[in-house]
Symmetry: C2
Subunit: 210 residues, 2 copies
Amino acid sequence: MAEYKLHCFAQSGNAYKVALYLTTTGADWDALFVDFFKGGHRSEGFTKQNEMAEVPVLEHGAETFSQSGVILDYLTETTGQYGAKTDRDRREILRWLLWDNHKLTANLATGRFMANFLPEDKRNPDVTNFLIGRAKAACHVLENRLAKRDWIVGGTPTIADFSCIGYMYYEDEIPIDFAKFPAIQAWKGRMAELPNWAHPYDMMPGHPLS
Amino acid sequence: MAEYKLHCFAQSGNAYKVALYLTTTGADWDALFVDFFKGGHRSEGFTKQNEMAEVPVLEHGAETFSQSGVILDYLTETTGQYGAKTDRDRREILRWLLWDNHKLTANLATGRFMANFLPEDKRNPDVTNFLIGRAKAACHVLENRLAKRDWIVGGTPTIADFSCIGYMYYEDEIPIDFAKFPAIQAWKGRMAELPNWAHPYDMMPGHPLS
């Protein structure tokens, strides 16, 4: 049995944040499929592990963790990789993890969901446009940050990068013109050079075409 | 000059998370008004301190912090109050801080803004209803959590409570029937018994009626 078990599904960028970290660090991990589109995240078995009814959930030995930011922070301790080198960096990483959750992922992921995965008769263009507009505003903040540096915090990749990159490779499913964000595009290229990088659809189970 | 300087405005629940903490712990702090409704958070002077263009910002000596979760975590170190007693609690607090930012505050604050502060001709009921629907879903998660316990993590108040309470006292401005969330209402009552508790409109500058 693998050392780490990650409850995830292919379309979840929040799960990808952790899956990419585990893959890149060479951790021994298995993916456990959560059938989100059939409500698997709301099943009794799943919510017993995570009352927030959210993917990802990580099992490691007798411990279970939820929230990608908590899991990434935990993994920096177990693997010793991509964590903070100083107390100031630790706070700076936390700052970007929180911002990602609040402003970037909250809008990018939900906007993508509304534009792609909701049944067509339930889609509402006003809601989608609102969310995508807020996601774009967040992308501008990240673009300005990355225009001046290769990585979000410090001079090397950290879990802040793994968090903020979560939904970026699903670009074909997001109605944003990413060509207008060249620093983000360059950063995505740098992240894609990390060891064993793969697209989320090639890393986690459940993609409809697989 | 006060020891802590908090850049804030009365309508900001994110700033209130910190203002309430500073007040309750008896810290020596001054409020510096950010005129959000005139774009003060986007001014050059402000974004030089916080490229995320968000309130709150805390100044303490030569240090400047942004993101309420980072600030609260920092203050547990400087004041020794409302922090984690164990490593497990530290992660559990972080889990709820992240969830608050992603699911609770992101929807509650934005839904309230759309319903109250946006000029009437720019309001879109579909967008407001969508956000309030997601805020309600988050309130159900919190309600279930608090149905079994007095505080979000452990047996005493922590910064997880200060974070999740951020927008809860603006209830008159949020189209949610909070009577349907009795555990949340009881918890708000317990928080309101903390030393020197006050409503955000009585704690921070800029309320239109003041």
